[in-house]
């Protein structure tokens, strides 16, 4: 028997050079464009216009990033509580920023509400909404009146329809950007002039219920593109409120309910950071409460400090 | 349907007959009895042998039900097997379109092999040269002219059609 090495999964050299897919000796081989006489399969993905698409962060990309964060944390932490505290602190810095950002975005006057809702439709995408900002901006200056539908930020259906019209305008304005690079500079000036669009700055909410509503509606819409599934006040304790998510998107792929709940502390951190920076000191924990078909239904329990309740009682009177 | 090659293995794991067609347009092309000690025949035997052990494990325990391999396919070709009770394997390599060749192999066994080899007193019954032969060297091949001719005649219409 000749003692050739069997290059597993190849038959001869020429075949080996041609073949695509996984080779045991060299690893995966990508297919090259000239490899087939036929044209490669075309995916609709490549022919679709990016401009007409809503700006969204890919859930896959987001979860991969989240996964790396979790495993890095998991390696360095010795106990579950340490892990949860650290993950929560990651979320807090995001939450405190969001307090600023979302209040600012909500204060853009109703006349340009279409733009506000475009931001929100961009869901988790901070980056893409920023890049779309210049384009939207010109669009709004030109079309403020035509887009004037006056919808509030919470009005999801209306904001979606607006997104459609405004993004069409995006197409034309981005084209001009490409034609003349100096235009881009011009756009940046207009970003700064966004302040002129704000007639009245939105103040942060001072009442517990108001700020919880803001989290339930605006913050959740910004993060996950839908309002949270429920906002409940505890009947037993005065200082406890619950925000409920039936299917937490970020942790939906994590197996083992205990593991998943620990990872939900990232969202807890965002809520905590948001509330603490707004002056509501609190503790936020995540709990699993499956109900019906929602196996991963998660409850974010918010426990306010007593001083918050006392302040509320003094400021707004007993209700 | 297209046929690429035909093999017979005996109970000692030796290849006792092989026929490979290299040019599909020409049924006379190719080689006969040249690959007995070639890697290819051993690999082919190995594949079928390993998969038979897999299917044997995965078979139902119900009595009277066999779990013989009928075909093995890759993206380019398909291997059809037919195993007899005496431990002979008839193997046919064809294109990968799923077509059942079990009757073809059965016919080769019952009408050609039995007729010209088993019923032939001058042909050895066991193709191993010595009694102690287990595997490897020292095997004879089927060289019977009638067997060859009839096999060619039978398979010729299937080579490329």
């Amino acid at each position: 028997m000749s003692q050739d090495i069997i290059y597993t999964s190849t038959s001869d050299e020429s075949f080996k050079n041609r073949s695509t897919g996984y080779e045991y000796t060299v690893g995966p081989k990508p297919s090259l464009p000239d490899e087939y006489t036929r044209s490669p399969l075309t995916s609709k993905l490549y022919s679709e216009s990016l401009n007409t698409k809503r700006h969204e962060v890919s859930l896959a990309a987001m979860t991969f990033l989240f996964q790396e964060m979790i495993s890095a944390l998991h390696k360095e932490c010795k106990s579950v509580t340490e892990f949860e505290t650290k993950l929560s602190s990651y979320g807090e810095s995001i939450g405190s920023r969001l307090l600023e950002l979302l209040n600012f975005r909500s204060s853009i006057s109703p006349g340009s509400s279409s733009r506000t809702s475009t931001f929100l439709a961009s869901s988790t995408s901070v980056l893409s909404s920023q890049t779309s900002q210049p384009a939207n901006n010109t669009n709004n200056i030109n079309n403020t009146n035509s887009n004037n539908s006056g919808g509030s930020t919470g009005n999801r259906t209306r904001s979606r329809s607006n997104t459609g019209t405004s993004s069409k305008d995006n197409t034309s304005s981005t084209k001009t950007t490409n034609r003349d690079s100096s235009d881009r500079h011009h756009h940046h000036h207009q970003v700064e002039s966004l302040t002129s669009q704000i007639s009245k700055m939105r103040r942060r909410d001072l009442k517990i219920l108001d700020i919880l509503q803001f989290i339930h509606g605006t913050l959740w819409s910004y993060l996950f593109n839908h309002v949270s599934d429920d906002l409940v006040k505890s009947s037993e304790r005065n200082n406890e409120y619950m925000i409920i998510d039936n299917q937490p998107p970020l942790t939906q792929f994590i197996s083992g309910s205990n593991n998943r709940i620990s990872c939900d502390y990232f969202i807890c951190g965002i809520i905590k950071g948001f509330l603490t920076n707004a002056g509501f000191r609190c503790k936020v924990t995540a709990h699993e409460m499956p109900q019906g078909q929602f196996d991963s239904r998660t409850v974010y329990l918010i426990q306010f400090d007593n001083q918050v309740l006392e302040r509320e009682a003094i400021r707004f009177g007993q209700s | 349907m297209t046929i690429y090659s035909f093999w017979i293995f005996d109970k000692h794991c030796n290849c006792i007959y092989d026929r490979e067609w290299t040019l599909l347009a020409n049924p006379k092309s190719g080689t006969t009895n040249s690959k007995q000690n070639d890697d290819i025949s051993k690999l082919l035997y190995g594949i079928i042998f390993s998969l038979r052990s897999v299917t044997g494990k995965l078979s139902s325990t119900e009595t009277g039900r066999t779990n013989e391999i009928s075909s093995i396919s890759t993206g380019r070709f398909r291997i059809h097997t037919y195993c007899t009770a005496t431990g002979l394997w008839f193997v046919l390599l064809t294109d990968f379109k799923p077509f059942n060749y079990s009757k073809v192999l059965q016919h080769i066994y019952s009408d050609i092999f039995v007729k010209y080899i088993t019923n032939n007193y001058l042909s050895p019954y066991d193709f191993a040269q010595s009694e102690g032969e287990k595997r490897g060297q020292g095997t004879r091949k089927i060289t019977n002219r009638h067997f060859k001719n009839n096999l060619e005649l039978f398979l010729e219409p299937m080579i490329s059609s």
Partner: protein, 210 residues
Amino acid sequence: MAIETILIINKSGGLIYQRNFSESFASKLNSNDFLIIASTIHSVFAITSQITPKALQITQNNVDYVIPYIPMVGMESSNPQQTRNANVPVKLGSYKGPDFFKEPFISWNKSGLRQLSTDQFTMYIYQTMTGLKFVALSSNVLSTNAGTMNGSIDKTKAVNVASQVADNFLRKIYCLYGDYVMKDPFYSMEMPIKSELFDKAVKRMVNNLL
């Protein structure tokens, strides 16, 4: 197509996932048996490419490796018995739309073992670009009565469709793997899959397959 067993074999031949979906012949085997079966399949898979017939090597004819997309294989809506969630759109993890993919795809399994048919079952193997193998054991059997030399074309087609359905189905299992295994921070690569979410999703898909 009734799926009996699903195996996932990693690129070095180790069995990382195995589930039986019915009380059939496969359920009496222990995990060690399955490990042996997995590594046997893995090695045979590699060897099959070695025995490519000469005629094929010479002609290099371009075999079409494109697998057509077969709509809604293993999806909720393909099963008319399950209409309870008709108003709730099924969420497919990070995949959008009603199905995991909608386009035909090129099979990466070009020279390796693809299908094994016996008297009792048919085994389908789907290999990914990275060498991961998804194996499905179906109790459906290639029809044996198409034995005549000019067997009906219809039957040939039906078997072809079965292998295409299997490729579509296993590719969807691969999609699930991409979501529930690859995106689980507590999974370590090449190790056995223990995610119960993946388990559940696979089970649901197998049940939807009629």
